[in-house]
């Protein structure tokens, strides 16, 4: 067996959104990294929707940015539309979303990878892990050529035993037109990993010139786009709208009449699909009362005529797809450039991972992204960053990088995965975060830059900038709290003008700012700061004061939560011998092997009494 002469610290298998972030973060922390892609022309590909962000995903992207990751920057370089969602539902749930030119996205990420010191990007299809003792020491490609390393991160997306379905046709593929890996999942099974199967899919791509856009309504981006990354300076590409249309009863009838030709409904597909992302067959079956479903047409890029037809996802034979697509008003003449398809793939039940994303079975082996049962570029990228940092910490003998659920969405994502596992493709939602109010897009850099700086992923200048901003925010808050507004005519005229009650005695400015209908603008009018207050600082000041009561409440909750997080459970703790626990709970605890009592408390079925029992046992037998 031939091995490459260079020995790496870290090999990353797969150069999708997880693999790219993993390789970049580890290389930037000073590790020598090899990133292997099956096809170098598919690095950081967007095989489904050409967009980044969205509900809760936007928060993940901002967090990746605050920790020195790449996704937000590439997104800004390639965005052709910006929108902020949920602006009317409260500051904690604002989420950014961009439409992106997918080819430019791929090229921009590839360029960053190529310029990155310590990082080798190579084309190879990995078919085997090299295992020594209970740890991994490298990989073999499909020709049997080997690469050696101290740690390996598997980020293979949908490529493990990938199987594409179009009607009753089955094609072994990781994505349309790309090889799938059947050797690697077989080896993982042999090593003792519990493997499950999931299903996802993608809608057809249509030729722009064949679409009658006059039958669609236009959805423009925000008039004042907000950049994703705090490192970005400007929008470089022209901004392009999307188009909203609807299917009709005829479309529904066509799919309904051909359900028997859908692999989804003829029992061919066994993988579990996500409930939040139904294919058109699903919609027809699950929502029979609806006569129409929304579709959105999105440009895949500036230099291409391909249009992503969101909402038309299906796994029907091509002849039915053509008939179905053309039933939609405005798509009567539409040419399908790429058919829709469904894909089944293997995933590794993530309860088999430690909170670092290292596998419990094989030391120095990490897993990140869709292989862990998640869905979405952003979820993948967050895990990639997390695994990359942790592999680097392992190599450099540094303390593991583990954020808790009160610090970041990515911590919620990983804690959910390793504690509760998942049996449907896991997507991030804001309702999964119990401390959502603290985990906002607008404060991601305030929350995480310091950690990124200490890891070596955020530059000293950036960290200094954040520190200065924090200081400005605190100073402005104390200034506002100590400013009293007198009941003078000018002030009252302003208040009445804003629809707010006039004042008759002196009132502290922070009390006025707390009123519904008043924002930081009222501070500028009533008692402007002598300092220059940037919009970013103003926004933080406004949120901190307006929602002070709720923020304090969450901070108290977080304090209680951290109490249990701090009580560590030894990894070799023998749950079977714990007196007074049901067998069911013993089994669950042995499987998950929680790192702390806090993590144990989030395992399904664990009661407060069981936690008390664990505390007592830990004291009596645990040490």
């Amino acid at each position: 067996m031939a091995f490459y002469r260079k020995k790496y610290d870290i090999i990353v298998v797969g150069a999708g959104h997880a693999g790219c972030e993993a390789a970049l973060s580890a290389a930037r922390m000073g590790c020598s990294v090899l990133l292997l892609a099956i096809d170098l022309d598919k690095v950081a590909a967007m095989p489904c929707s050409p967009s980044i962000g969205g509900m809760a995903k936007g928060q993940l992207v901002k967090e990746i940015d605050a920790l020195g990751g790449e996704m937000a920057k590439i997104s800004d370089k390639t965005a052709i539309q910006y929108r902020t969602l949920n602006t009317k539902k409260g500051p904690a749930v604002h989420s950014s979303r961009t439409q992106n030119d997918k080819i430019r996205y791929h090229l921009a990420m590839k360029a960053v990878l190529e310029r990155q010191p310590n990082l080798d990007l190579k084309q190879a299809m990995v078919e085997k892990l090299v295992i020594e003792g209970s740890g991994v020491s490298g990989v073999l490609d499909q020709t049997g050529f080997g690469f050696q390393s101290r740690t390996v991160i598997i980020a293979t997306g949908t490529f493990l035993s990938g199987l594409i379905h179009i009607g009753m046709n089955k094609i072994k593929a990781g994505r349309a037109g790309e090889f799938a890996s059947y050797e690697l999942p077989a080896q993982l099974k042999k090593l003792g990993f519990q493997i499950g199967r999931m299903k996802t899919g993608t809608p057809p791509r249509l030729n722009r010139k064949s679409i009658d856009f006059s039958r669609f309504s236009i959805q423009e981006g925000d008039p004042e786009p907000k950049l994703f990354s705090s490192f970005s300076k400007e929008i470089t590409l022209p901004q392009i709208p999307s188009y909203i249309g609807h299917t009709n009863q005829n479309s529904i009838r066509i799919v309904h009449d051909n359900l028997h030709r859908s692999p989804l409904f003829s029992g061919v597909i066994k993988g579990v699909a996500a409930r939040y992302c139904p294919s058109f067959e699903d919609k027809v079956v699950r929502f029979p009362e609806r006569n129409s479903h929304q579709i959105i047409l999105e440009h895949e890029g500036i230099d291409t005529d391909e249009i992503y037809a969101s909402g038309l996802g299906n796994s029907l034979p091509l002849e039915i797809q053509i008939e179905f697509v053309r039933s939609v008003e405005g798509l009567e003449e539409a040419e399908i450039m790429r058919p829709a398809y469904a894909i089944e793939y293997d995933y590794v039940n993530p309860v088999q991972l430690r909170p670092t994303l290292e596998t419990k079975l094989i030391s120095n082996l990490f897993m990140a992204g869709q292989i862990n049962g998640t869905s979405g570029y952003e979820e993948a990228a967050a895990q990639g960053l997390w695994a990359g940092i942790n592999a680097a910490c392992r190599v450099q003998n540094r303390e593991a990088f583990i954020l808790d659920r009160s610090q970041a969405y990515m911590a919620v994502l990983i804690d959910d995965l390793v504690t509760r596992g998942t049996n449907e493709p896991y997507r991030m939602f804001t309702s999964r975060a119990e401390y959502r109010l603290m985990l906002r897009e607008d404060n991601a850099d305030l929350r995480l830059s310091e950690i990124g700086f200490h890891l070596g992923l955020v530059s000293p200048e950036m960290w200094k900038d954040v520190q200065e901003r924090k200081e400005q925010i605190n100073m402005e808050i104390s200034r506002i709290k100590s400013t009293v507004i007198k009941p003078e005519q000018k002030a009252n005229a302003y208040l009445e003008n804003c629809g707010s009650k006039s004042i008759h005695t002196g009132v502290h400015l922070d009390q006025l700012l707390k009123r519904a209908g008043l924002d930081y603008e009222s501070v500028r009018v009533l008692a402007e700061s002598p300092e220059i207050i940037t919009p970013r600082v103003a926004r933080q000041v406004e949120i901190e004061i307006k929602y002070e009561g709720y923020i304090k409440k969450q901070l108290r909750e977080i304090e209680k939560f951290r109490h249990l997080e701090k009580i560590k459970l030894p990894q070799e703790f023998d749950y079977d011998s714990v007196y007074g626990l049901s067998n069911e709970l013993k089994e669950k605890l042995s499987k998950v092997r929680p790192a702390s009592l806090g993590q144990a408390s989030r395992i399904e079925g664990i009661t407060p009494a069981a936690i008390s029992v664990l505390m007592v046992s830990l004291k009596a037998f645990g040490k």
């Binding site: 509900m55 749930v93 929502f287 804001t430 969450q554």
Partner: protein, 465 residues
């Protein structure tokens, strides 16, 4: 070390006359001294906190917070860590005026920042802080498990689970409101934004706040809580009345709560019977007697029978009732009766004798106080009778003290939701209070405190339409 301060009514079993509120934790001293007013020094407690003499009984009063009315005359003992049961700072307040007063004191202690102790929590802390030998771990675990399941069992069993159902209904109403808000937040492209503050206000008011208030009122006005169920054990001498009483009151030493009574003429035990407090009175043996002192005792017993809600009439199993026993039956026949055939271990068939017809019409249960047979059936039968009684007097659903505390916490959170709706608070903030109120109600029902809102959303909204 624990970060929170806990409290509970902690009167040890078997002791009558006084009740003890125990406070344990870092703030025990400050909370204890803030509710206590020393006799002769009523205005100022700050000096007390600075110079507390530990292990010393202070005499004084607990006053109500608002009206500054004296609630009870008490003795307070401040005990410094680590020489206490929990090895934390502990304060014990001894009151002596009955359960209602003890509850009022507890309320004030909780208002001052203590949390109602979880089942078994004092003992758990004692163990974790090294007060109890490590070899006792299993005993401590047994105690935690027993008390936790008991407190759930009470919620489930009370009036055949109707309390649990009622609270589950309120919780479900909250879940529905929260799911709608979360669906609108997490699926802005799928779920129509139909948020209507007026409609929400009305739902919160009618489906949540009002039912919670009613339950809290039921607790506060409870016939049971004020009077308790009075049960009397009667029968001829030597049929085993005392042993039965002991069996009934001792089965769970942990739930025997002797409330301070007034009359000590008859032997009384106060038993918490699946959430319903019951006073068990062991009457003197009823038989005709010429002895004037015994006669007096019998007259008292007859009076007690008239005042009681439930009579346990004890017979010796398999033995034909005597004239005397037929006479006793006449005294009790208009009451709720359970005829208990004791010593059933001595006969093959406990009801083999020819019972009078009226006897047969009553509930008949065979037990052996000696061997402990039949007591589960007896308990069930007593519970049935209690429930019947409660139905006559009360709204059928009466939460106990722990449930009421959780309900009060839930009410506070829901009231914030209500105010937030009035003040146009954004939805991400409303969700915080909604989640909190659901957690409080889940404490009572044992349901998941952080339910899967997403499951609910997927089942109720057309996601990905």
């Amino acid at each position: 070390m624990s970060h929170s301060t806990i409290t509970a009514i902690a009167t040890p079993a078997g002791q009558g006359g006084i009740g003890i509120i125990r406070i344990s934790g870092p703030e025990a001293f400050s909370i204890g001294s803030s509710v206590f007013y020393r006799a002769g020094n009523q205005g100022n407690n700050s000096r007390l906190l600075d110079n507390i003499k530990t292990n010393h009984f202070y005499y004084g009063y607990v006053r109500s917070q608002g009206e500054n009315k004296i609630i009870d005359e008490v003795l307070v003992n401040f005990m410094k860590a680590p020489h206490t049961y929990t090895r934390e700072d502990v304060v014990e307040i001894q009151g002596h005026s009955g359960i209602q007063t003890l509850k009022s004191i507890l309320d004030i202690v909780i208002q001052k920042g203590a949390k109602l102790a979880q089942p078994g929590e004092f003992t758990k802390r004692a163990f974790l802080n090294g007060r109890i030998d490590l070899t006792q771990a299993e005993a401590v675990i047994d105690l935690i498990n027993a008390r936790s399941s008991l407190s759930l069992e009470i919620a489930v069993s009370q009036i055949s689970g109707s309390l649990k159902r009622k609270i589950s209904d309120i919780r479900t109403a909250l879940l529905e409101i929260l799911s709608q808000i979360e669906a609108e937040i997490d699926f802005p492209e799928d779920v129509e934004d139909s948020f209507n503050r007026k409609e929400m206000l009305s739902r919160v008011q009618h489906q949540v706040i009002k039912p919670i208030q009613k339950l809290i009122r039921n607790h506060n006005n409870s016939f049971l809580l004020k009077k308790g169920i009075k049960a009397i054990i009667v029968g001829a001498p030597n049929v085993g009345k005392s042993s039965i009483m002991n069996r009934l009151s001792k089965r769970d030493k942990s739930i025997v709560t002797p409330y301070p009574g007034t009359t000590r003429d008859l032997i009384e035990e106060h038993v918490d019977f699946f959430g319903a407090p019951m006073v068990l009175t062991d009457s003197a043996g009823l038989h005709s007697s010429d002895d004037p002192i015994e006669k007096l005792g019998i007259e008292r017993a007859i009076k007690q029978i008239q005042m009681s809600d439930l009579v346990l009439f004890i017979l010796a199993a398999g033995v034909k009732p005597t004239q005397n026993e037929l006479g006793i039956f006449k005294l009790i026949k208009d009451k709720q009766i359970i005829i208990v055939h004791n010593k059933s271990d001595l006969v093959m068939d406990g009801k083999a004798f020819d019972m009078p017809k009226e006897f047969k019409n009553a509930s008949n249960i065979s037990v052996s106080a000696l061997k402990g047979f039949g007591f589960n059936r007896l308990r069930t039968e007593i519970e049935k009778k209690i429930n019947q009684k409660i139905k006559d007097f009360d709204d059928p659903i009466v939460p106990n003290l722990r449930h009421t505390k959780a309900l009060e916490d839930a009410r506070a959170s829901v009231e914030s939701v209500y105010e937030g709706l009035l003040n146009s608070l954004p939805r991400d903030l409303l969700a915080v209070d909604l989640g909190e109120s659901i957690r409080h109600l889940s404490d009572i029902t044992g349901e998941n405190p952080t339910p899967d809102i997403l499951d609910r959303i997927f089942s109720e909204f057309c996601i990905g339409k």
